[in-house]
Amino acid sequence: MFPSALAPSGSPLRRLLQLTWRYRAACLQVFAFQIILLALALGGLSLTGLSVDVLRHALDPAAPLPSWPRGLAQLADWATHRQLLAVGGLVLGMGALHALLGYAHGIQSGRVQHLRLVPELRAQVFHKLQRLSFPFYDQNGSASIINRVTSDVQAARSFVDGVMLQGGILVLTLGVYAVFMLRAHVGLTLACLGATPLIWVLTRRFSVWAQAAYQKTRQLVDEMVLTMSEGIHGIVVTKVFGREPEELARFEKRNRAVVDQQQDIFRRASNFTAAVHFSSQINVAVLLGYGGLLVSQRTLTLGDLIVFANVLTQFAGQISAMARVVNTLQQSLAGARRVFDVLDAPIDIRSPERALGMDHPKAESLAGSLRFEHVHFAYPNGHLALSDVSFEVTAGTCLAILGATGAGKSTLLSLIPRFYDTSAGRVTIDGHDVREFDVDTLRRSVGVVFQQTLLFKQSIADNIAFGHPGAARADIERAAQIAGVHDFIQRLPAGYDSLLAEEGVNLSGGQRQRLALARAVFVQPRFLILDDPTTALDAHTESDVLTAMRAVMRGRTTLMAANRLSTLRFADRIIVLERGQIIEQGTHSELMAVRGLYYRTARLQGVVDEARPQALTEQCV
C-alpha cells in the first residue's frame, strides 16, 4: 500500500538521504530555480552599480568608463539618457521575472514538503502504528507515540526542507556570491570576508548553548503550566484544606524558576545578536576602507563598490542561515530516529502464512470451545504475569476469573484475541492454536468489553457499528436492543445520530458500558470477553449493565474478569487467580465450600453465605 523505499536498516542520516532521494526531481527543480533567481538578483544589483558608473562618467569624463557586461556591450555607444532608460527597463524586467520565478520556486518547494513528503510520511507512520502490537504501546507512552506522527515527522521533514533544500540553496548562494565578488576583486573579497569566520564561530557556539538553554526553559514552562493545571484540577482539595497560600507559593516557585532561567538566555541572546551585527559591520568598514582605496586607485569603479556592499550584507545573512541548517540537521536526526523506530518496529503478532479463516466456510460449525494449556506469560520487562495456567471452557458457557489487581486477569483475557502471544503453552479454540487463525478474523470473532470503555467522537450508530463501518441501521438497532440501550438512544434528540463528542451527549458510566456491550455484540462474536466492565459503576447502575451482560452473553462462550459477587454469580465456573496462578476453581457453591480466597471475598462483600444467611460484614471492619 505504501512505498517502502526506506530500507529497514542503516543510520538515520543514510535513510534520510534515501528519503530525500525519493524527491530528487523536485529538489533539483528547486535548485535550478534558485540559480536563476540568484543570477537575476545579482544582475539587478550589477545594473544599479553600472548606472552609477554611467552617471559618474557622464558628469565627469575623467571618471573610469563604465564596464558593460558582454551581452550589453552595444549599449556603450548609446546616449546616456537612453542608456539609463534601458538599464531601468532591464532592472524592472528582471525584477518582474524574479518575482514570477520566485513565486514558482516557493510553490514548488511547498509542494514537495506539504503535499508529498509530510503527508506520505505521516500516513506511513500511522499505517504502521495501527498494526503495531500491544507490547509497543506498553513500552511507549501515548504522548510519545502521538509526537512521532506529528512533531517527529515534522522534524524528519525539516531534513529535506531545512537541511537538504536550504543547505543546497545556501551552498549555491554562497558559491555564486563568492564567485561574483572574486571576479570583481580577489583581494577585496578576501579582506571583506575576514570577519566572516568569526560570525560562523559565534553563531555555532551560541546555537549549541541556546539549544540546551531553550530546552531547559521549555521544561520549566511545562512544569509551571502543569502545576497550574494540577492545582485547578485539584482545586477541591486545596479549598477544603484551606491551602490556597501554600498552593500559590508552590506555583510562584515554578513561575520564578522560569523567569530566572530566562535571564541568562536574554543576556546571552542579546550579546550574541549584537556581536553578530557588529562583526558584519566590521566587514563593511573593511570594504569602505580598502574598497575606497581601490576606487581612488581606479582599480575598482564606484558602482562596483556599491554592488559589493550589498552582496556583502547578504553574504553575512547567509552565514547565520548556515548555522540554522546545522541546527536543523541535529534536530531532524533526533526526530527521524524516532520516526524510523516506529517504521522499523516489528509487528510481533501476525497471521500465519496459511491461516485458518474463521468466518468461512466453517463459521457455523465452529463450536466455540476454548482451552488454556500450560500457559505462561511474561511481559517484555521480564515480569511473569501468568504461570502454568490450564483450564477449559466448553462452548456456550461462562467462566469468571477472580483475583486481586495485578493477579493476571486482564493478561489472561488478552491472550485469547492475541493482543499478546503466550510465552509458553498454548491457547486453543476448538482444538486449533489461536496462532493458526487469521488475526483479524480471530479478533472479529471475539467481542471485548473493557473496564473503561473508550467511545469515539462519532455518532452513536458509528460507535456501535465500529466493527463493520457502514452497516445497516436495523442491525445496529438490534445490537442496541440486546444491550438494553435502544430506548435510551431513541430518547436522545438526534437518536442514533447523536454525536459522542466533548460537547455532545453526556453518557453515564452505565450507558457507556451498555454501548460497549452493543458494540461487542454487533459483530456477532463467537466469544465474549468482559474485563470487569462494572468495576467503575455504582450499585444502581451496575444492575442495569448486568442485565445487559446477561442478554449479550446468551449463546456465546464468555470469559469475564470480575471482582464483585454480583457479577461472579453469572458464571458456570470460576477460577481464582493469585500472582498469575490458578489457586482455586469450581462453581460458586464448590468454592464457597472450600473457604479460600473466594469465600473470604464473598464474605467481605456482604453476600449472604448459604450457611449463615445473616452474617454480614461485622468481621471485616
Binding site: 511547498g110 520564578r256 550579546n271 450499585a539 444492575s543
Partner: protein
Amino acid sequence: MSQAVLEKPLPAPARPSEVVAQRPLDFAIIRRLVACTRPYGRLRGLLLVLVVLRSVQLPGMAWLMASVISGPIADHDFSGIALGVVLFLGWSAFTAGCFVYRSRLALELGEAVVSDLRRQIYEHLLRLPMSYFKRTEVGRLIGRVVHDVDSVRSGVQDVFFVSVVQCGSMLISAVLMVYYDWQLFLIVLGMAPGLWAVTRYFRKLSSVAYRARSESFARVTASLVESVNGIREIQSFARQDHNARSFARLIDEHAQINMHSHRLSAVFQPVLIFNGQFFLAVLLVLGGYQVLGGRVELEALIQFLFLSTAFFSAIPIVGEQYNQALTAMAGAERVFRLLDTRPDWEDRADAKDFDRIQGHVEFKSVGFEYEPGQPVLHGIDFTALPGQAVALVGPTGSGKTTVANLIAKLYLPTSGAVLIDGNDLSHMTSRSLHRQIACVTQQNFLFSGSVLDNILVGRPEATREQVGVALDALGVADIIEGLPGGVDSKVGERGVGLSIGQRQIVCFARAMLADPRVVILDEATSSVDSVTEARVQQALFRLLLGRTSFVVAHRLSTIVHADQVLVLEHGCIVERGTHAELLDKNGPYSRLYRQFVSGQAELAPNTSARSE
C-alpha cells in the same frame, strides 16, 4: 538596497499552536497594559531612551555609509576615507552596544510582566469559589491563558519598542532624503502607502490561514490521539484499514491547508522584492535624468539608494507589529476579563475565625441550586452530634455530594442555613473552617510530587514523625512503607504510579494528619482488590473514629456502622435512622439495600445465565 542592521522582533519562546483571534486597538486595554509595566518604571524609562537612540542610529549608519562612498571615496580623498571608516566603526560599536541593552531590557520587561500576570491569574483562580470551576472547562481555560499571556508578552516587549525604532528610522531617513532632494523623496513617499497596504493585506490573509492551519492540525491530532488511545478497540475490531483511510483524508486536507498558507508567503516575498526593484528602476531613470540635467547631485542619488532601503524595510516590520498588537489586544482582553471575574460569593466582611469547633453540624431547611431555577436540594433538615457518623445514601443525582459540599462551605446554601456548633457557616471564615474539616473526594486527587508532599497538604507544618504517627493511627504504615521509596515515593501527575487503593490510603492519611473535627468523605465507587479493600475499610473506620463524619456511601459496611443514615431522593431526605431501623421500615432504604446487596439474589448461585 539593503542595510545591515535591521530592527527585528526579538525571538520569543515557542508557543502552543492555538487559535489566534484579533481585536482592534483598545485604549482602555492599552492603558491597563501600560499599568502592568509600572512596577518596572526604571526599566521602561531606560528602554524608551534606548529605542529613541536606535531610531537615530539605524538611518545614521546608512547615511554614514552612503556619505563615505559618495564623498571621500568618489573624491579619492584618502584621509577622508580613513576618517569615514573610523567614524563608521565607532558608530557601529555604539549601535551594537545600545542594542545589547535594548534587546535584553525589553525581554526582561516582557518576562516580568508575563510572570506577574500568570501569578495574578492563578491567585485569582484560587480565590474563585467552586461554582466557577463547575461551569468552566478548566483544561481549555488553562491552555488559553498560557497562550494569551504569551501574546501579551509580545505586545509588551515588541510592539511598542519595535514600532518606535522603525517609525523613528523612517522619519529620520525621510528627513535626510528631503534634505538631499525633496522631489525624489516624493517617489519614495508615493510608494509607501502601496507597500503598507500590501503588507497589511498579506498579514490579514496569513492570520486567517494560520487559524485554519491550527484548526486543521488540531483535527489531525485529535484523530491521532483517539487512534492511539483506542488502539485496543481498533485492533480488537480489526478497524485498521478503515481508520488509516480516514486519517489519510485528514492529512490530505491538512496538507492542502498548509499548501495554501505556503502559497501566501510564496506570493508575498516576491511582491516585496519586486516592489524594491520597481523603485530602483524608477529611481535610476528619473533620478539619473535629474543628475544628468544637473538638477541633482550624484551624491544625493547614492544617498537615496541607501536611505530608501532603511525607509522601506521598516514598513513590513511595522505591519507585522501592528498585527502582533491586534493579537495582543485579544489576548490581553481575555486575560483581563478573567482577572475581572467577580467571585459569586466571598466570605462576609464580618465573618469571624472559629478556632476550636466541636463538630456539631446542623442543616436548617437548606435548599440549594447550582443553576438558578434548578433546585437540587429542598428543605434539608438534620443534626449531627459531635463524633457521629452520618451516611448519605441515594441514587446518583439525589443530592448526596451537594450536601457534603455545603458542609465544606464549597457552596453557600440558596436558602436555609448550615450551622456548625450553632454558628451559621456564612459568619465563619472559610479559612478557619477548612483548617478543621477534612475532605476525601471520590477522585482521590493527588498532586505530582512525593507521597509525603501529598500527605502534608493536610498540615504543611507537620514533621515526618507526625506523618508517621498519622499513618500508624490509620494502621497503614506498612502499606506506605511498602512502596518503592516509602513515604518519599514519587507520585506522577494525578496519582499515576499508585494503585487506586494506595491513592485512597494517601488521601486518608492526608485527612488524618489534618486532625479535623469534621470529616467529609465521598467513597470511591471503583472497587479495589479484596485484600486492599479490607485495609481501606479498616483505615476508613479509624479515620472517622471520634469525629463528626459525613460519608457519601457506596460500601455497605460504612452504612451499617453509621449512627445515622440519611436517604436522599430527588434532593429530599426521604428516610432517616440507623441501618437496622430503616430495614425494618421496609421503605425506600430497604429497596435500595436489596438492590445493593442481593440485587441479583434471584440468580441463585449455581443457576447460570446460560439456562435462559
